[in-house]
């Protein structure tokens, strides 16, 4: 077998050195009646060329995604990924390494973690960052648990315009902890700040608001933070489209206590929903309650700057059942992509990119409204918006297929009351001509 170097002769030689006559003797600990008899009924072994043909055959059962542009986002955004990133991710020193337990052999990983922590700090305003948790949804659930530990309370107040799958993930994570979950309704595509006061009380641990929200709406986060603090609760901002942070005020400046986010927009492919990269950011006061891996700066034996995993006494391999979380493997490989992406775009580039996104999405919305087939209320939004239409779902799908566009999200799958509403996402992958073609196609 091409992945197993030892020959039959070598294995026999080794068995001799071990002092046994057969492999069976080595595994004599295993009770006979537990041994699997016969062959596993699985396909293979396939030669490499057969394997490629087989998997490519499966791949071709998908539509030709390479030629399609999605008008759907909803937590998964198609941004252009520069070629540099694929080159970096293909380096074996990155993708075949383990979690950086031996800092002398992992400065590449550790410095990258530290740089991403710094980037996310510049975007959120916070100095304590956990750079990689599985995804935005699980990072948000971890953030809620952290807020419950910090406050010692188990009542949470969550915006109805939090990504519905993030909400479901929170529910799963808090289920064992007798948690009361209160939803804040929305009005005009924004979380209704006027009713929040009535939903808060002294038992509340945290208020959770996504910004931009699930409808793309730009919330007045500071108002929610103020109300939370009045009741001794924490303010948690969820950032699903992290590109928005290039234009929007830093969460720290909005009175937010903890940020949980998804960094997929920064150089990570759509990948059918994963692997993505969740993150947390907060104040230094809260570092001992953070879950997950964090890199810190220090010096080595010779006084040279070095990076290590730090604040380790929070973690499962040391604290076991008293750890802040069970997080072990995270999604570190994506950090190279995020680091490279944010470095390439940098201060001006990320601003310009976010500007393109917000202008393009507003352009599409106003053009759609002009066609007469779409209507919607005015509200501030970033690169996603909600409109209602008189077109049938199938009609939208078929028409867009002809111009190689994946349809927007039909909102009724999550919001039963919104029968004919759709959530459109517009990123820099669309040129003005592309958007004109969409308007022409749907506006007929």
């Amino acid at each position: 077998m091409r992945y197993i170097p030892n020959t039959k002769e070598q294995l026999e030689e080794m068995l001799k050195e071990i002092g046994v006559s057969s492999f069976e003797e080595l595994i004599s600990d295993i009770p006979k009646d537990l041994r699997f008899k016969g062959d596993l009924k699985i396909k293979g072994p396939l030669s490499e060329d057969e394997l490629i043909a087989y998997i490519r055959g499966i791949e071709r059962e998908n539509v030709d995604f390479a030629s399609l542009k999605p008008l759907v986002g909803a937590g998964s955004y198609k941004h252009f990924v520069p070629s540099v990133i694929k080159t970096i991710l293909a380096r074996e020193e990155f993708y075949t390494a383990y979690t950086p337990y031996q800092p002398e052999l992992a400065q590449g990983t550790l410095q990258t973690m530290f740089e991403v922590q710094t980037h996310l700090s510049r975007l959120t305003g916070f100095d304590a960052v956990v750079p990689s948790i599985y995804d935005g949804a699980s990072a948000t659930a971890e953030a809620v648990l952290m807020a419950m530990r910090l406050t010692g309370k188990n009542r949470i107040v969550v915006s109805k315009l939090l990504h519905p799958q993030y909400m479901e993930t929170i529910k799963t994570y808090v289920a064992p902890h007798k948690t009361e979950i209160v939803e804040i309704p929305y009005k005009d595509n924004l979380t209704d700040v006027n009713v929040v006061k009535d939903l808060l009380n002294k038992e509340t641990a945290v208020i959770v608001v996504q910004n931009p929200n699930f409808f793309g709406g730009i919330e007045d986060v500071e108002a929610f933070s103020k109300l939370a603090h009045e009741f001794g609760a924490l303010s948690l901002q969820v950032v699903v489209e992290s590109l928005s942070l290039a234009l929007l005020k830093s969460p720290k400046d909005l009175g937010v206590d903890i940020v949980s986010g998804e960094a997929q927009s920064f150089g990570i492919d759509l990948n059918f929903g994963g692997p993505y990269n969740g993150y947390l950011a907060t104040k230094m006061d809260f570092i001992r309650q953070l879950p997950g891996r964090i890199a810190g700066e220090t010096v080595d034996r010779n006084g040279k700057r070095a990076f290590v995993m730090t604040l380790r006494s929070r973690e499962q391999d040391i604290k076991r059942e008293k750890a802040t979380s069970n997080l072990c493997t995270s999604h570190n490989l994506n950090l190279y992509a995020i680091d490279a992406y944010l470095s390439l775009f940098g201060k001006e580039g990320l601003y310009n990119l976010a500007t393109y996104n917000i202008k393009a999405s507003h352009y599409l919305r106003s053009r759609l409204l002009q066609t007469g087939h779409f209507k919607g209320i005015d509200y501030p939004f970033f690169n996603e918006f909600v409109v209602e239409t008189d077109l049938e779902e199938l009609e939208i799908k078929e028409r867009l297929k002809k111009i190689s566009v994946i349809p927007p999200l039909k909102l009724s799958i999550f919001f039963t009351g919104l029968v004919n509403s759709y959530l459109f996402a517009v990123t820099e992958i669309f040129s003005k001509d592309d958007l004109d073609r969409i308007v022409e196609t749907l506006g007929r």
Partner: protein, 481 residues
């Protein structure tokens, strides 16, 4: 080396964006309460700066392709290149998770076929591919246990975890609201059956067990263990971290386990990526399938679709699993087939026992018996020379090897100063011999020149970073002076 921020030059660009032909200004589109007054202070570097930066960083790392990486419990096996290629195919990487299901039939087929293969390999009845990592899978597993008992109308409050277990086991149990009760190991490195009997009761959800366990030994009394747990109505959980020893030899589903999680990034060869992404697929017996996280992939005759288990514990992340990781795992299984999988376990067990046989007189093993796919040695005999196990590990770096796992497992009185070596099936005899030679040389150096070890490694860019300082004075982000 310099941080990317220290290479920043005002006005330098590394990006390109298509022409912005739209009217209007950001100030008109974002309300004052939300608009940032300043641009965010990210670095300004060119494309070539970025490429060189990461190339340099990569040279400070060590991966499986660089050499022997015998991290016990981590299964650092070779990551086949063709699998990387297959996972990077456009129609996989560019698939949007909210695409109409008829657009993603290939993805769903791949998930369906992978599930079928995992069922056959483990002897379980249904799998979720949703969890992102082993620990994520554990959380799913223990939440299923919790829900199973709640559904029967009698919640249970405790979870049994052996003293040799990975830290994730007790941590996951605690996240699922269980009180953790530790079960002792006995003098031969297995679970103390009497201790288990004394602790397993009707308020205990079950036992989380790794088999082979973390000292690399098969739990000989697994049938009795299963009997004890089941006789009290409990469930037996299989931590699949060490499945590499058992492919085609024992199926957890045949050995009484009710729930298993697999680390596709260990046994099934998907790369560890400097610490993820992995995949922690969870398999269950039929009676627990209705509690699996939603959604599951189903074969609905003509099409592949999604279904929500009736009493699902809910979601544990957005969308589906780590799809591209699943592609790599499935490609590996197809490359191996039945014969290949059996050869994996046979070779990994022989390789580990060969290391044990050759090194046991230099590094007294925690338990002196044949091991499975990894062996646990110790550095305790070198304490008298002032040498710690850490020093031995660091010295190995000078010889060109990644150190094994050290100080885990750790429990009284058998496992201290542990050195856990897992060669996997990917290493040939010559490489293993070179490693053995280095270990023997180090054992001599420990006696004759302990300073050499205490100051090791000598060849790396940094040596012995001060972790205490990092912890006491945390610097987690860069600030310009």
């Amino acid at each position: 080396m310099k941080l990317i921020y220290e290479k920043s030059v005002k006005g330098r660009v590394g990006y390109s964006i298509k022409k912005d032909e739209f009217d209007g200004a950001v100030e008109d589109l974002i309300p004052e309460y939300a608009l940032s007054k300043a641009k965010k202070e990210l670095p300004e570097v060119s494309e070539v700066d970025v490429v060189r930066h990461f190339t340099k960083l990569s040279k400070l790392n060590y991966g499986v392709d660089d050499g022997f990486y015998p991290l016990g419990s981590c299964t650092m096996k070779y990551n086949p290149k063709v699998n990387e290629y297959l996972a990077s195919l456009d129609n996989f990487t560019q698939a949007h998770p909210f695409s109409p299901l008829e657009f993603v039939q290939g993805n769903l087929r791949l998930m369906y076929e992978l599930e079928e293969a995992l069922k056959e390999i483990t002897g379980m009845d249904r799998f979720t591919l949703m969890p992102s990592a082993g620990a994520h899978g554990e959380l799913v597993g223990v939440l299923i246990m919790r829900k199973y008992f709640e559904d029967q109308g009698k919640s249970r409050s405790k979870m049994l975890v052996p003293d040799s277990a990975h830290g994730t086991n007790p941590a996951s149990s605690a996240m699922a609201g269980f009180k953790v009760v530790e079960v002792k190991s006995n003098e031969v490195g297995n679970i103390d059956l009497d201790d288990l009997k004394a602790k397993m009761d009707e308020d205990t959800a079950g036992l989380m067990l790794t088999n082979p366990n973390t000292v690399g030994l098969f739990e000989r009394q697994i049938q009795e263990i299963a009997e004890v747990v089941h006789s009290q109505g409990g469930l037996l959980y299989y931590d699949g971290a060490n499945l590499n020893a058992l492919l085609g030899i024992v199926r957890p589903g045949d050995a009484g386990f009710d729930i298993v999680h697999l680390n596709l990034h260990k046994t099934f060869s998907t790369p560890h990526g400097s610490g993820g992404p992995g995949s922690g697929a969870v398999g269950v017996k039929k009676n627990l399938a209705e509690f699996l996280p939603s959604p599951l992939v189903c074969n609905c005759g003509k099409y592949f679709g999604l279904e929500e288990p009736r009493k699902s514990i809910g979601r544990v992340k957005a969308f589906f699993g780590n799809f591209t990781v699943l592609v790599k795992a499935y490609a590996w299984i197809l490359s191996m087939g039945n014969d290949g999988l059996k050869m994996v376990s046979e070779t990994s067990v022989i390789n580990a026992n060969y290391v044990l046989a050759k090194l046991k007189k230099y590094y007294r093993p925690a338990y002196d018996r044949f091991c499975m796919h990894e062996c646990v040695l110790t550095g305790r005999d070198y304490k008298e020379y002032g040498v710690k196990t850490l020093d031995i590990a660091k010295r190995l770096i000078d010889y060109g090897f990644h150190p094994p796992t050290i100080y885990f497992p750790h429990f009284e009185p058998y496992a201290q100063e542990t050195i856990m070596v897992e060669p996997t099936e990917s290493e040939g005899k010559e490489t293993i011999d070179e490693f053995i030679d280095a270990m023997i040389k180090i054992s001599n150096e420990a006696k004759t020149n302990p300073e050499l070890l205490k100051e090791a490694p000598h060849i790396t860019y940094v040596s012995r970073p001060d972790e205490v300082k990092a912890n006491r004075e945390p610097i987690l982000v860069y600030k310009e002076k």
